[in-house]
C-alpha cells in the first residue's frame, strides 16, 4: 500500500536527511517514533506528496508520486490520503458541518451525507455541527481534525501526533477510533508519535 525507497530530503541549509525504507501492505499500520526535530513530520509530508524528495520515491497504492503532475498530485492526495495534523487546521469562517462538507466537495464522488453523519456521530460531534470551529474545545477540535482526515475513506491515513493534547482517557478513545476507522475503510495508519500511550497499541514501528 505504501512503499518508500531510499527517501532523502534536504532542508534549505543543505543538511540531508535519509529515511529508512517503509513498506506497508493494505491495512497494515505503522508508528514512526523518534526524538523531536529528527524529521518525523518531514517524512509524513514526503509520503503525502507535500514535499518533493531529494532522492528516492514514494509509491502509494502502486502509484509513484513523482510521476504525478502537480495537479494530479493534488487530486490524488485529496482522494487517497487522509491527513491529521499536529496543529489543527480548519477553515475558520465555516462551521463544523461546512468544514466537513468542504472536505467532501473535492471528491469526485457525490457528497456522502450518510458518511458524514455516521462519522460525526461516532466521533461525538453530532451536536456541534452548527458551531463555529473556534468555539470547539480542544478535544472537540482534535476529533474534528480526525473526522476531516477520515471522511473521504482514504487508503492511507497519515496522523501527526494525534494524541499530544489529550488526557489518558481521550487518548485511548482516539487510538481506538483511528484503528476502527482504518479497519472499516481497509486503510493503513501511519502515526507519528513520541507518546508512550500510543506505542503500546501498535506493533509495527520505525525509529528515526
Amino acid at each position: 500500500m505504501v512503499k518508500t525507497s531510499s527517501l532523502t530530503y534536504a532542508y534549505g541549509d543543505g543538511q540531508e536527511m535519509v529515511f529508512p525504507d517503509i513498506d506497508l501492505s493494505p491495512g497494515q499500520h505503522l508508528l514512526i517514533i523518534g526524538p523531536s526535530g529528527i524529521g518525523k513530520t518531514t517524512l509524513l509530508y514526503l509520503m503525502a506528496g507535500l514535499l518533493p524528495p531529494l532522492k528516492g520515491n514514494v509509491a502509494i497504492d502502486g502509484k509513484e508520486l513523482d510521476s504525478l503532475s502537480r495537479r494530479e498530485m493534488d487530486k490524488f492526495r485529496g482522494e487517497q490520503i487522509g491527513l491529521i495534523f499536529q496543529q489543527y487546521h480548519f477553515i475558520k469562517s465555516l462551521n463544523v458541518q461546512d468544514n466537513l462538507l468542504l472536505r467532501q466537495s473535492v471528491l469526485k464522488d457525490p457528497i456522502d451525507k450518510q458518511r458524514r453523519l455516521q462519522l460525526t456521530k461516532r466521533l461525538g460531534l453530532s451536536e456541534y455541527l452548527d458551531k463555529k470551529v473556534t468555539e470547539l474545545s480542544q478535544g472537540q477540535q482534535q476529533r474534528l481534525s480526525i473526522a476531516l482526515g477520515l471522511i473521504h475513506r482514504p487508503k492511507i491515513i497519515l496522523a501527526d501526533e494525534p494524541t499530544s493534547n489529550l488526557d489518558d482517557m481521550n487518548c485511548v478513545k482516539v487510538i481506538n477510533l483511528l484503528k476502527e476507522e482504518a479497519e472499516i475503510c481497509k486503510s493503513s495508519l501511519v502515526i507519528i508519535t513520541h507518546d508512550l500511550r500510543v506505542m503500546s497499541h501498535f506493533q509495527n514501528r520505525v525509529e528515526l
Binding site: 514535499l51 485529496g78 490520503i81 477553515i91 475558520k92 469562517s93
Partner: protein, 464 residues
C-alpha cells in the same frame, strides 16, 4: 458547498475590512454615477426646454441670464422690452414664429407666465383636464405645479409680486384655474400660464391702486403708453373696428385717464393716426422677452448680430448659452469625476490590501485546502471570487447611493427651481464603469494572490 460560498463566508467573517473596502468603492461609484446622471439629466432637460426656440430677445444684460430667465425660468429677468422694439422680427423672412412672454409674478413660488397659446403648442403641452385660457385671469397650470400647489379646476388664487414666494400680493385680480396640463417633462410643468393681458392688468392695477388705472409701465419709462390712455375713449370705436389688433389692446380699454392729463398736448397727433395708433399702442406695451423660432438657419447667423449691434434690445441664442453653461458645469463635473477616480483607485488599492491581508492570514487555510485536493487555480478562483464579490456589492451599493442622491437632489431642485430629475435604471456608461471596476478588482485579486502560487504547503502547515 462550493467555492463561492466559501468566498462569501470568508468575506463576511471580517466585517470591518469588508466595510472599509466597500465604503471606498461605494463612495467613488456613487460620486461618478451621480455626476454622470446629473450632467446627463440636466443637459437633457435644458436642451428639451430650449428646443422650441432658437433665439430669445430681451432687455440688455447677460445673455445667459436672459436665457435662464425667459426660457428656463430659473433666474430673474434682465428687464422689459417694448413690443415695438421687436416688431420687425414678427414678419422677418427668416423668422417662423415669435412668441412674447411676460412675467414677474408668482403664486407660492411658481411662476405666472403671460404668453400666447402657441407657447403651449411649442412645448407640445396638452390639456389633461379643463380648457385653455380664453380671457384674462384664466390660467392653465403645468402638471407639476398643479400637483404641488394642489390646484384643481375652478380654483382661484391671487398672485404675489416677484418670482419667489412671499412677495407683495395683488389682491384684486384673482386668477382662475381653467385647465391643467399633462406632464411634458419640460419647464411648462412648473408654470402657471395665462395670456399676456393678465400680467399687464395685474401690474397696472397693482401699480396704481390709488387711481384704479394704468398700465404697469407708466411709472417707469413708458410715457407713450400714458399718452394713449389719455385718449382712450376717442379710440374705442377703432378698437372694435380693428379686430386684428393685438389682444394686448384690450387691457387698456377700461383704464381711466384722469392722471394722464399732462399728455393731452399730444392728443391731436394721436387721434389722426387711426388704427396705426393701435399698433403703436400695442408696440408700446412691454413684454419681458420675445421667443423666436427661425425659419431659416440664416436667421441664426444674421439676426442675433443685427439685433445686438443695431437695437436697444439684446438677442441670445439658448443653444449657445446652454452649451456655455454646460461647459462651465462640465469642468466642475470633470473635477468631481477626477476626485471620484482617485477614490476609485484608492478603493482598488484597499481591495488589494484587504485581499492581500486576507490571503496572508489564511495562508494555512489555503494550504489546508491544497491538502484536501484543491488546486492552485481553484484557490486563485477563491481570491478572485472574493474580489469580485467586493467589487459587485461595492458597485451596486454605490450605484444605489448615487441614485438616492439624484432623488434627494430632485426633491430639492423641484422645491427651489421647479426642476425634477428621474431616477433612471442603469445606463450603458455605468455598466462600463462596472466592468472597469470588476477588472480592477480582478487585477487587485491577482496581484494579491501571487503568494498562492508560491505557497509551500508543508512549511505553512507546520508553522504556527
Amino acid at each position: 458547498m462550493n467555492l463561492g460560498y466559501l468566498a462569501y463566508k470568508n468575506m463576511v467573517s471580517k466585517p470591518l475590512n469588508l466595510l472599509l473596502s466597500l465604503l471606498l468603492l461605494s463612495l467613488s461609484v456613487s460620486l461618478v454615477t451621480f455626476v454622470l446622471q446629473l450632467n446627463k439629466q440636466l443637459s437633457g432637460q435644458l436642451n428639451k426646454n430650449i428646443a422650441p426656440f432658437d433665439m430669445v430677445v430681451g432687455a440688455k444684460g447677460s445673455p445667459l441670464q436672459l436665457v435662464l430667465s425667459s426660457v428656463l425660468h430659473i433666474d430673474a429677468p434682465t428687464g422689459n422690452i417694448k413690443l415695438k422694439d421687436v416688431a420687425m422680427l414678427q414678419n422677418h423672412p427668416f423668422v417662423e414664429k415669435t412668441i412674447p412672454v411676460s412675467y414677474g409674478d408668482n403664486y407660492k413660488g411658481y411662476r405666472l407666465l403671460g404668453t400666447e397659446l402657441e407657447y403651449l403648442e411649442k412645448y407640445n403641452a396638452k390639456l389633461q383636464e379643463g380648457r385653455l385660457f380664453q380671457k384674462s385671469f384664466e390660467v392653465v397650470v403645468g402638471n407639476g405645479a398643479a400637483t404641488r400647489l394642489n390646484l384643481a379646476l375652478g380654483d382661484t388664487f391671487t398672485s404675489s409680486h416677484g418670482l419667489v414666494d412671499g412677495g407683495e400680493g395683488h389682491d384684486h385680480h384673482p386668477y382662475e384655474v381653467v385647465g391643467i396640463l399633462q406632464p411634458t417633462g419640460s419647464v411648462v410643468d412648473q408654470l402657471l400660464i395665462s395670456n399676456l393681458e393678465s400680467v399687464w392688468e395685474a401690474h397696472s392695477h397693482d401699480d396704481s391702486e390709488h387711481n384704479e388705472s394704468s398700465n404697469e409701465h407708466h411709472d417707469h419709462d413708458s410715457h407713450e403708453n400714458e399718452e394713449e390712455h389719455g385718449n382712450h375713449n376717442e379710440h374705442d370705436h377703432e378698437h372694435e373696428n380693428h379686430e386684428h389688433s393685438h389682444e394686448g389692446h384690450e387691457a387698456h380699454e377700461h383704464h381711466e385717464h384722469e392722471e394722464h392729463d399732462h399728455n393731452h398736448e399730444e392728443h391731436d397727433h394721436k387721434e389722426h393716426e387711426g388704427h396705426d395708433h393701435d399698433h403703436e399702442e400695442d408696440e408700446n406695451l412691454e413684454i419681458t422677452s420675445l421667443l423666436v423660432k427661425f425659419k431659416s438657419p440664416l436667421g441664426m447667423v444674421q439676426l442675433p448680430r443685427f439685433i445686438n449691434e443695431n437695437t436697444s434690445v439684446q438677442a441670445a441664442l439658448p443653444g449657445f448659452e446652454i452649451q456655455r453653461l454646460m461647459g462651465l458645469l462640465g469642468s466642475g463635473a470633470t473635477t468631481i469625476n477626477g476626485i471620484a477616480l482617485a477614490i476609485l483607485l484608492v478603493s482598488g488599492l484597499s481591495i488589494f490590501i484587504s485581499l492581500l491581508k486576507t490571503i496572508r492570514e489564511r495562508r494555512q487555510e489555503l494550504a489546508l485546502l491544497r491538502t484536501y485536493g484543491f488546486q492552485t487555480k481553484q484557490l486563485l478562483g477563491l481570491a478572485l471570487l472574493e474580489g469580485l464579490f467586493l467589487a459587485l456589492i461595492g458597485f451596486v451599493s454605490g450605484w444605489v447611493l448615487g441614485r438616492l442622491g439624484i432623488w434627494i437632489l430632485s426633491g430639492y431642485m423641484s422645491a427651489t427651481y421647479g426642476y425634477t430629475f428621474q431616477v433612471n435604471g442603469p445606463e450603458m456608461i455605468e455598466l462600463s464603469l462596472m466592468v472597469v471596476i470588476l477588472i480592477l478588482a480582478i487585477f487587485a485579486a491577482l496581484m494579491a494572490s501571487i503568494s498562492i502560487f508560491k505557497l509551500n504547503v508543508a512549511k505553512t502547515l507546520s508553522n504556527e
